[in-house]
Point group: C2
Chain length 249, copies 2
């Protein structure tokens, strides 16, 4: 019995030419009509920004593939508002070249695209591959299909997206539902001097340590498991409202 | 009795030349030694991104005023890691020209600078002025001093920052500790055609409706109250972990 055709929006922050998005879109065709609406170039630094100060252009660069001269968040907004033939059943962002763990979720363009889908009321997920080179998208793309099928069947809890990180290993051990871990910051900045004697600075010198228990995303991925973290969008720290209410100004 | 001199980092996403940051820095001198480390130009679209693919330059543009060719997050990182004479006691970001309410907190460069301070373990707050024109920074700057004093005295709950929005009115009614409200999205996209017959798109056509109860940030600010929302950094939706664990792949 054939599965009912669903409408699926695929996006990313590496741009529509990225191998990760091509593999993702191709795999997801098994479970729906796939539209790719993605940045026209790498937008990894864009995080969760909306382009409001200039108009956006959309170019149809292939069959059901559109390039937008904006951020991942722009792409989701414009895809749902103007490009797609209807409201999508699913938004999947990725497959990102590199993991998005812990506080990365606050910076990540890949995750922010899925957040935007969630804000607009569409079940959404972000998928990232935990590697710096020798990316093997095969297992990640195969898992995206399983995940997409599962989300379409079960639906997600309200205002919740899934942040998925996949280990770049031949033999994946399984899936773990996790919490976000935390980076441990060491020396963040490397100071150098240019040939003209002027200083310059590189960020991110020593950012690769993590903390978090066995239920953390980092622990799962480094152990060879797929990490699935449910995220929500409400940054309110409800538990400290009463304390702050006691402050006198 | 003079107050103990504290070390205060001031930043923003509008750039070091912005009137909002000048007013803020000037006012905060009442309670500490103020260093301004801010982007060299407007970086409102930068959100929570770190510049990792190129080195950063820092220019001393005034007494204890430094311009960085990067994002607000870069500024906080480099200020704490390299520029300041010691670890700051307080990070205040702002005063932003325009409110940062509800989901804005996920996009905002102003808020992300305060998040970065929090990630690095410094008590931090973001201050935004709810106006689109005729910005009156006086009340906001005065409140920043009260707030800074209060944070230095009480300290903040762990891993918590304060997101403050100030109404742009002559007579502020007081302060409210609030939760983040939610945007209600209407028509997001305006499609137009250029003189050469090619389409282009403006985002944000109809984004100015909000929902949320009387305890929401939006409700407070539009009612003439200063809104203070405690935020945390953990996007994990802990309450849905068990549900997702029940999924079969």
């Amino acid at each position: 019995m054939p599965e009912e055709k669903k409408l699926i929006l695929v996006t990313n922050d590496d741009g529509y030419r990225s191998e990760g998005i091509k593999r993702l879109a191709s795999a997801l065709k098994k479970i729906g009509d796939v539209y790719v609406v993605a940045p026209d170039r790498e937008r990894s630094a864009a995080s969760h920004s909306l382009t409001l100060h200039r108009p956006l252009r959309v170019e149809e660069v292939g069959q059901r593939v559109y390039a937008v001269d904006g951020t991942p968040t722009d792409c989701v907004t414009i895809a749902i508002g103007s490009i797609l033939p209807g409201r999508p059943d699913l938004v999947i962002s990725g497959i990102n070249k590199g993991s998005n763990l812990g506080e990365d979720t606050l910076y990540s363009g890949t995750v922010s695209a899925a957040m935007e889908g969630t804000i607009l009321g569409i079940p959404s997920a972000a998928i990232s591959l935990d590697a710096r080179r020798d990316f093997d998208f095969k297992a990640a793309a195969a898992f995206a299909v399983k995940l997409g099928r599962r989300i379409l069947k079960n639906t997600l809890p309200p205002e919740t997206l899934l942040n998925v990180n996949i280990p770049n290993v031949k033999k994946i051990k399984g899936e773990r539902v996790t919490k976000l871990g935390r980076r441990v910051f060491g020396e963040m900045i490397i100071e150098k001097t240019d040939p003209r004697g002027k200083k310059y600075y590189w960020l991110g010198g020593d950012m690769e340590k993590w903390e978090g228990g066995e239920d953390s995303d980092f622990h799962a991925v480094t152990g060879g498991f797929i990490s699935i973290t449910p995220l929500h969008l409400d940054l309110t720290n409800h538990s400290s409202i009463e304390e702050i209410k006691g402050w006198k100004f």
